[in-house]
Amino acid sequence: MLKMTDNQQRFSSGLDIGRLLRPFAGLAVPAGAVIAALAVGAILLGVFGANPLTGYRELFTGAFGGPDELAATALKSIPLMLVGVGICIAFRTGVINIGGEGQIIMGAILATLVALALPDVPRPILVPLVMIAGGIGGGIWGAIPGALKAYSGVNEILSTIMMNIIAGFFMSFLLEDWLIEPGAIRIQQTKRLSHNADLPLLPGGTRLHLGIVVALIVAILGYLLLFRSSLGMRLRAVGHNPHASRAAGMKVELSITQALAFSGACAGIAGAVLVFGSESHRLIGEGGPLAFTQSAGFNGIVTALFGGLHPLFTVLSSYLFGGMLAGGISLQRAVQVPQALVIALNGVVVVFVVGSLKLRTRVQRWAEGDIQMEDRA
């Protein structure tokens, strides 16, 4: 741009405050959207006869109010982080993965089978083994729709939804038959799995276990894969422009399959963490697949998008969303509004934030001094 705008001139001397503020101008709109969503939540709280301020204070202190609360939030955020990192990989490759739910389940199943088959392997070996098994289970469940899209042109939204359904029924088949706890009342759950596969608690006296470390390692690996490896470069190139990538000699079909396999593997590890980090240390199918996965397959999509499809920022956004889930419990206790409110609120936040992106682009342009072009258009 040759002609400077008023906005730029105002800040052109001395410290360039405009330049410093530019990245934050864009952030103001999603932040506003979150506040608007919280206002909707306040209205709902009021409608149900609760004091909104008390409600939100409880939500906040329940999520971040002390070491135990911070640990509970971290626990809730682990599956979101893992699924979210996987979503970053898939979406960056231009593949929509709605199959997180099924991939979590298949990861959990394979990890459970490994723990059942090798109960006496020492813990330092068995814990990594069940995590890897989870990754393989979820990875296969992701690779199938990936290959179907790449080589047969099957829409991945559709196939991943179908894979979710198949995985859900497969889990209830196994838990009603082969894997059901012997002798007990017929509840859809396995017996207590090998103690050697338990995720050890971290020092500090909270309930936080090794799963958080697993999630952080996966996030860093995801970041290195996407942004610091030639494989990741190819994946992002395919996501950016598959035709140009093909013309440049890349194997687009292979990249698509790899992306969904990696994505599924991350979700599968989340499944393994949900089993071996749970308090009962078993795979439980009672209450349906959604009760086991805690909707992390869907919520992970949300946190990945909030993290700008960047694995490390996804860790941060997952932690904040985990806080809403953890805080919802104390909200329910304090003001007698069911924690389902938090799930509804999550939905409102998503809708408001994605709905405000057009506005955000405008604000960003304004901050960059393009507002005159915008006015003429």
Binding site: N155, I161, E176, V342, I343, G347, V354, G355, L357
Partner: protein, 311 residues
């Protein structure tokens, strides 16, 4: 165990399969209209849940199933207007905002149910069976065809109606135009946003109705009542290649398979675990069908693309 293979039971199973197909059919037909106009709505499941709760609660309080059905329809319409505002006016990414609508519906209906109803109380479903008088005289075939509530006939009647709407009317032509090439449609003076809004409202209204139909069929509400049916409905649109008759075939497949599995379980022919395996069949079959047909039929060219004049 041979009890299953009597004509009476097979007829009853097929009849119940037709009933179970109704929520799939209504939701998937509506989604097909929206997708034909270029708008993907992944929030069908959420809208179905909201429609289901509205219908359940209204029927519970007023004692009228018909009034419940109407409420399901109205809240579906309202959700349609909201979704149209988000996607058409604000250009929100459709897949993601749909997930947002799903989460909202899942949490909001659970919240309302726990706060307003608490313990599950059953409601009586629709009683109006317009052709019931024909069923007595026409034997098994009569039972299969004439024993349903009015909603079932409306749902199946909507198949030719939607077909006619999409392929034989100006509105349908505009829907297809904005779904395939919105820029060209705009040049010809078609209001792209107007047509898309109308298509979305039709789709969501039908999703709300589908949820209401489900709640009235089951006669109860609980958290996550729809249990993935809304997502299956989206898959059925692809399965049916965006054509009403194909969508109907897919809905009947899912409906009849689940009623058959249920009947086999009730008759003690198969155990619960085998039933789980059998219930996978429609999903597996859908994937196989897609591998076969996907090379032949493409989706609407502008699906998921928001419309702007300068692009």
């Amino acid at each position: 165990m041979n009890d299953f293979f009597t004509v009476a039971i097979i007829t009853a199973t097929l009849a119940s399969g037709i009933r179970l197909a109704v929520p799939f059919l209504l939701a998937a037909l509506g989604e097909a209209v929206g997708q034909r106009a270029g708008v993907l709505n992944l929030g069908v499941e959420g809208v179905m849940l909201i429609g289901a709760f509205a219908a359940y609660y209204t029927a519970l309080e007023s004692g009228s199933a018909a009034l419940g059905l109407l409420m399901g329809l109205v809240v579906g319409m309202v959700m349609g207007l909201i979704y149209a505002f988000i996607t058409v006016v604000m250009h929100a990414e459709q897949g993601i905002s749909g997930i947002g609508i799903y989460l909202f519906g899942l949490g909001f209906t659970d919240l309302l149910f726990q706060k307003q109803v608490g313990t599950p109380r059953p409601i009586s479903g629709l009683q109006a069976k317009p052709f019931d008088w024909l069923a007595d005289d026409t034997g098994r075939a009569g039972e299969l065809l004439f024993s349903h509530t009015i909603l079932t006939y409306v749902a199946f009647l909507l198949v030719p109606v939607i077909y006619f709407l999409i392929t034989r009317t100006t509105f349908g032509l505009n829907v297809r135009a904005v779904g395939e090439n919105p820029q060209a449609a705009d040049t010809l003076g078609v209001s792209v946003n107007g047509i898309r809004t109308a298509a979305i409202v039709i789709g969501n209204t039908m999703a709300g109705l589908a949820g209401a139909a489900l709640a009235l069929e089951i006669g109860i509400f609980q958290q996550n009542l729809t249990a993935g049916r809304g997502f299956i409905a989206i898959a059925l649109v692809y399965f049916g290649a965006w054509r009403p008759v194909g969508v109907m075939a897919g809905s009947l497949l899912f409906g009849i398979v689940s009623s058959t599995v249920l009947q086999l379980q009730v008759q003690d022919v198969i155990s619960g675990s085998v039933a789980s395996i059998a219930n996978m069949a429609p999903a597996v079959l859908t994937v196989i069908v897609l591998v076969v047909v996907s090379r032949r039929i493409g989706q609407p060219a502008a699906l998921t693309r928001p419309f702007t004049r300068d692009s």
